[in-house]
């Protein structure tokens, strides 16, 4: 039902999906079976012009089926809150901004913007973050019809996103023209990229490979063609890629 999972969020997400899918299937099949059974059992026989039973209601029964959906949505809501927290949704942005203050200062987005105005934040994978070094900040610029990735630490600019496994990546995103959305189905994460409004998306990749980056917000005629790739490397391979592509190293 779902594509391969390649981020630390994916397994959390897939667990939620399994629960929602199971509850949904039971409810749906239960109601459909009840409906079809009623239609068959209580079908009108030919020649019968009488009425059915004059039952206008039944308070205990109605209380029961007010309670059933209430309990189900309460359970689903609490469970998905737990999932949301595990995906880092409740981590306030200022918290994780201060985690890597040094890295942030190298970023071209002004600090003033980041302090109060950055939105987003899901996917920081707070509890699930794989320990393995500091946060890797990458600047993302979205425009009609491409994503551009800039690595502030290494001064690399790329049309493809390259990240290592096991390290938390923080995408600091802003759009140049219209609203776009950054989506990697294998990461189970999506965040709109908005002009005039920086947004942040964090993730920790767990599985090496090449996955599609898809623009998920209608952005113009070539919206369907606005795709790129994220290449997830093992840490050593990522270090190699970084070394080969860092401009000052190659010219030296």
């Amino acid at each position: 039902m779902l594509p391969l999972g390649a981020s630390s969020n994916a397994s959390t997400y897939d667990a939620l999906f399994k629960v929602l899918f199971s509850i949904g299937t039971v409810l749906f099949l239960g109601i459909v079976i009840l409906l079809v059974y009623s239609l068959f059992r209580f079908r009108r026989r030919s020649g019968d012009t009488g009425d059915g039973l004059a039952i206008e209601g039944n308070l205990p029964l109605e209380i029961v089926w007010t309670a059933i959906p209430a309990i189900v949505v309460l359970f689903v809501g609490l469970y998905s809150y737990d999932i949301y927290e595990r995906m880092g949704g409740m981590a306030t942005l200022n918290d994780h901004m201060t985690m890597d203050h040094a890295a942030m200062q190298q970023v071209s987005i002004k600090e003033g913007d980041l302090a109060g105005r950055v939105w987003g934040g899901i996917g920081v994978a707070g509890m699930d973050a794989v320990p393995g070094g500091p946060v890797l900040p990458i600047e993302v610029t979205a425009m009609q019809f491409a994503f551009i990735f800039h690595y502030p630490g290494a001064d690399i600019t790329s049309g493809e996103l390259h990240v290592p496994t096991g390290q938390q990546v923080e995408l600091r995103m802003e759009a140049r023209d219209v609203i776009h959305a950054f989506w990697v189905p294998q990461f189970r994460l999506k965040q709109d990229v908005i002009p005039g409004q920086p947004t942040v998306l964090s993730f920790t990749a767990t599985r090496a490979g090449t996955y599609p980056i898809i623009c998920a917000e209608l952005c113009g005629p070539y919206h369907g063609g606005m795709r790129s790739n994220v290449v997830v490397h093992e840490p050593e391979a990522y270090a190699n890629w970084l070394q080969q592509n860092t401009p000052n190293r190659t010219t030296a």
């Binding site: 779902l2 939620l16 004059a54 189900v72 996917g123 609203i179 947004t199």
Partner: protein, 540 residues
């Protein structure tokens, strides 16, 4: 009560015969049918636009229409289906036709306003469609018209789109005011609120939503048009505007709009099921409270359309919880309908087949809706084909199925003739199979990586897209038995008599079709519109 008496206005000044359907008639029944036929014509147009979309998506590359045209088509498809087919028909057509009967009046509270509300629709629709031909390019930014995209696509088409939607919104507000006034103020003496047929409650709730939320959409679109025409900066980020504010304002209307499309359908189903199951509507009082709970909750859930827009955590949580809880009153209604069927004597005619299929489709769409309300789930599937599948299960599988069921149910009231049942069942079968074939696979496509509103996609998704397109073709074919049925019935239809379903709701207690002033004499006082099984003397 003079206001409710159409003879004051109609008399001999109004055209009679078929010509009255093209006139500024003040008769609520004429206006209802004007809404219905006009809406159905736009349904065919919107369906043809859907055909263009599904044809383009047969192959993974953009090869059928240009990319710009594709975006125009998807924008027009959404706008036409919502504002010119579903909202006018499920509110305007059935509301205008039925509500005066249900409250025991001779017309709506404001007959002239009623006629104005209808006659705003054809020009607005023609304006919208014609923007494709005259303005050089129709709107290309989707029915949501998010800035800054809507500020950068061809301006003329976008402005025409705004004008058209403003006219349609105005029509909707006029209708809403009229329904509220009619239901609250025009009830026949002795008819208490808790005696009203459920569709009245649904229309009261819907009209409250219309009156509260549609002006917000109108204001928002006027600001958007200032940004386009006068280069103001309300939503233009290069001038300090905020694009996310637009989304809040837009969805403050457009989420309630879902209930504006769905609540009347709930009401219509509540009328159809008891009659053909020969049982009282189960749990009348809880049904009424459920409607009002949905109205209230419907106003505070809009930001669940914006979970990826960059909303703060508390806001995501609040809207998750509020949205999830809509499942409670909605669930009550579905269980009550099932209980209405239980122990009945169910006639599985076309009206019932469509109504029962509505239950199946809507429960499916409701379950995916509760899933979508969960932020972590939504973050992955937002703006994908999963959402396209979900909302088509709600608005097509839900509301459009009910519209068809209602057509078979009330056609004898409109015309005095019964639609052919064999053609009706064929219509149902083709619609049900086509619909599920078209929209069920889209959930999988969305989960696996196909975004919505694209003319090209990953070739891995080709097969399921082709299945979906075959389903769409079946849906297109399914309108043929309906159209043939209407023609055949007009030529040689079975006479229905005044009350072919042996029903107790007030509209069946007059002749079919009804006289201009609705009743022969005074309106009957119906205190128990669902009193099946209690009044043996009324049985045929």
């Amino acid at each position: 009560m003079t206001l409710a008496n159409p003879s004051d206005f109609n008399g001999n000044l109004q055209p009679q015969g078929w010509l009255r359907y093209f006139s500024f008639s003040l008769d609520h029944k004429v206006i209802g049918l004007q809404y219905l036929v006009c809406g159905f014509i736009f349904y065919l147009i919107g369906g043809a636009l859907a055909g263009v979309i599904r044809t383009e998506l047969v192959s993974p590359i953009s090869d059928f229409v240009s990319r710009e045209t594709y975006n125009e088509v998807l924008t027009l498809h959404g706008t036409v289906m919502i504002f010119l087919w579903i909202v006018p028909v499920v509110n305007g057509a059935f509301g205008n036709y039925l509500i005066p009967f249900y409250v025991g009046a001779r017309d709506m509270a404001f007959p002239r306003l009623n006629a104005v509300a209808f006659w705003l629709i054809p020009p607005a629709g023609i304006l919208l469609i014609s923007s494709y031909f005259i303005a050089g390019a129709a709107a290309q930014s989707g029915w949501t018209a998010y800035p800054p995209l809507s500020l950068t696509t061809p301006a003329a088409g976008q402005v025409v789109w705004i004008l058209s939607v403003l006219l349609l919104g105005g029509s909707s507000i006029f209708g809403g005011i009229n329904f509220i006034a009619t239901i609250l103020k025009l009830r026949r003496p002795g008819l208490k609120l808790m005696m009203l047929p459920m569709y009245c409650w649904a229309m009261l709730g819907t009209s409250i939503l219309v009156v509260l939320s549609t002006p917000v959409l109108a204001g928002t679109l006027i600001l958007l048009s200032f940004d386009i025409i006068a280069h103001t900066g309300f939503f233009n980020p290069t001038m300090g505007g905020n694009v996310v504010v637009y989304q809040h304002l837009f969805w403050f209307y457009s989420h309630p709009a879902v209930y504006i499309m769905v609540l009347p359908a709930f009401g219509l189903v509540s009328e159809i099921l008891p009659i053909h199951a020969r049982k009282p509507l189960f749990g009348y009082t809880t049904m009424v409270y459920s409607i009002m709970a949905i109205v209230f909750l419907g106003l505070i859930v809009w930001a669940h359309h914006m979970f990826t827009s960059g909303t703060p955590p508390w806001m995501r949580l609040f809207f998750t919880i509020a949205t999830s809880f809509i499942a409670v009153p909605t669930g009550i209604k579905f269980f009550n309908w099932l209980a209405t069927l239980w122990g009945g004597k169910i006639a599985l005619n076309s009206a019932m087949l469509f109504s029962c299929a509505f239950i199946v489709n809507f429960v499916f769409g409701g379950i995916t809706g509760v899933a979508l309300a969960q932020v972590p789930f939504d973050i992955h599937v937002h703006d994908t084909y999963f959402v396209v599948g979900h909302f088509h299960y709600i608005v097509y599988g839900g509301t459009v199925f009910v519209i068809f069921g209602s057509l078979y149910h009330w056609y004898p009231k409109f015309t005095g003739r019964l639609l052919n049942e064999d053609l009706g069942r064929l219509h149902f079968l083709l619609t049900f199979i086509g619909f599920n074939l078209c929209f069920a696979p889209q959930h999988w496509l969305g989960l696996n990586g196909m975004p919505r509103r694209v003319a090209e996609y990953d070739p891995a998704f080709t097969t399921l897209n082709q299945v979906s397109s075959v389903g769409a073709l079946l849906m297109a074919i399914s309108t043929l038995p309906l159209l043939i049925n209407i023609v055949v019935t007009a030529i040689n239809g079975k006479e229905a008599g005044d009350n072919p379903w042996n029903a107790l709701t007030p509209e069946w207690l007059t002749s079919s079709p009804p006289p201009v002033e609705n009743w022969h004499g005074d309106a009957p006082l119906v205190t128990e519109p669902y009193g099946y099984g209690q009044h043996p003397e009324l049985k045929a």
